[in-house]
């Protein structure tokens, strides 16, 4: 039960205990309180230890879309790596130093091509490749996105500024079960001379969910 009173205050590494007069400041909302209560019960019943919970939090917080971007850029630069990423994502990620923990749901990578555009949603909750990309954006968890992404994917993408041509097949992937999806976006034209690091800078979180495409930098588009 100790965690109820210590470091986990819902504000990341910001510790209220550090500020005089704020030690007893309770601003927790309903869901934060519920999460704390569940956490305390899991510990009390011996399902997991506070350290294990903190390790998992740290692991997710340590990942961000920059990690996915690195993987995407490497796949663009190296066709053999791309083939491995599509056929055996876990082996491909391990090559770049990302070892997914056993408890992580399996990852599948789907490739956008000139004929196919993939879009990822979880209609049941908020399944997302957290082990690679970290936490999902808030809109990904909204009822609006979760319902509209399946019924009107093209309309949703237009709101993100992407108009997918009618001749391109849109594939919505609903991650309802034991797999998580990463979209491998198309490499934009005009990026031929760019280094892998420069390419990674272009790859956005949204393009790896599929609501947008990766755009070449202004300088490359101008020509």
């Amino acid at each position: 039960m100790t965690r109820l009173n210590t470091s986990s205050n819902g504000h990341g590494d910001h510790d209220h205990e550090d500020h005089p007069g704020m030690a007893h400041d309770e601003e927790l909302g309903y869901y934060a309180l519920r999460a704390r209560a569940m956490e305390a019960l899991l510990v009390e019943k011996g399902v997991c230890s506070p350290t294990e919970i903190q390790n998992m939090v740290d692991r997710v917080e340590a990942r961000s879309p920059a990690d996915g971007a690195r993987v995407v850029a490497h796949a663009w630069a190296d066709p053999e790596y791309k083939a491995l990423l599509l056929s055996d994502p876990e082996a491909a990620l391990a090559q770049l130093g990302y070892s997914l923990p056993e408890t992580t749901p399996k990852l599948d990578v789907v490739e956008n091509t000139e004929n196919v555009h993939n879009l990822v949603v979880c209609t049941l909750c908020s399944c997302y490749p957290r082990a690679l990309l970290g936490r999902p954006p808030d809109w990904y968890k909204s009822f609006s996105y979760r319902s509209r992404a399946v019924i009107d994917p093209r309309g949703v993408m237009r709101e993100f500024g992407l108009d997918v041509p009618a001749e391109v097949e849109v594939r919505v992937l609903d991650s309802t079960a034991d797999l998580r999806y990463l979209v491998l976006p198309r490499r934009p034209e005009g990026t031929e001379g760019m280094s892998e690091d420069q390419l990674a800078e272009l790859v956005t979180r949204d393009s790896m969910i599929g609501v947008t495409e990766v755009r070449a930098p202004e300088s490359a588009r101008a020509g």
Binding site: L124, L173, D174, T176, A177, D178
Partner: protein
């Protein structure tokens, strides 16, 4: 332990990529991972994703056995949504556990 209809007997893989399957309509009560909008729809097995412990058992402290083959099933968007606005070639893929699927004949 919650009983539900369609309780799986074993873990044998029954479907192959390309097979036409129908998603059962069911309301087992409690936790299940087959969205309502896809129940009753007919699709095509795209691939076998693996064999996983049954989440309907895991959710209630069960051992998830018998584990269930999980398939990525492809559906035509315009077939799933009668007022779908996009081209008829658009698809939706849903991962579905075997005990939610039944053999079906291809739709015209």
């Amino acid at each position: 332990m919650t009983q539900y209809s369609g309780q799986p007997d074993d873990s044998t893989v029954k479907y192959q990529p390309g097979d036409t399957v129908a998603v059962r309509v069911d309301n087992p009560g409690g936790h299940f991972r087959t969205p309502r909008y896809i129940q009753g729809q007919t699709g095509r097995v795209h691939k076998l994703c693996g064999i996983f412990p049954n989440p309907e058992s895991l959710a209630y402290g069960g051992d998830g056995q018998p584990a269930q083959p999980l398939y990525r099933v492809e559906f035509s968007q315009s077939q799933v949504w009668s007022e779908y606005a996009g081209p008829s070639s658009d698809k939706i893929y849903v991962d579905i556990y075997q005990h939610w699927l039944e053999p079906a004949t291809a739709v015209a």
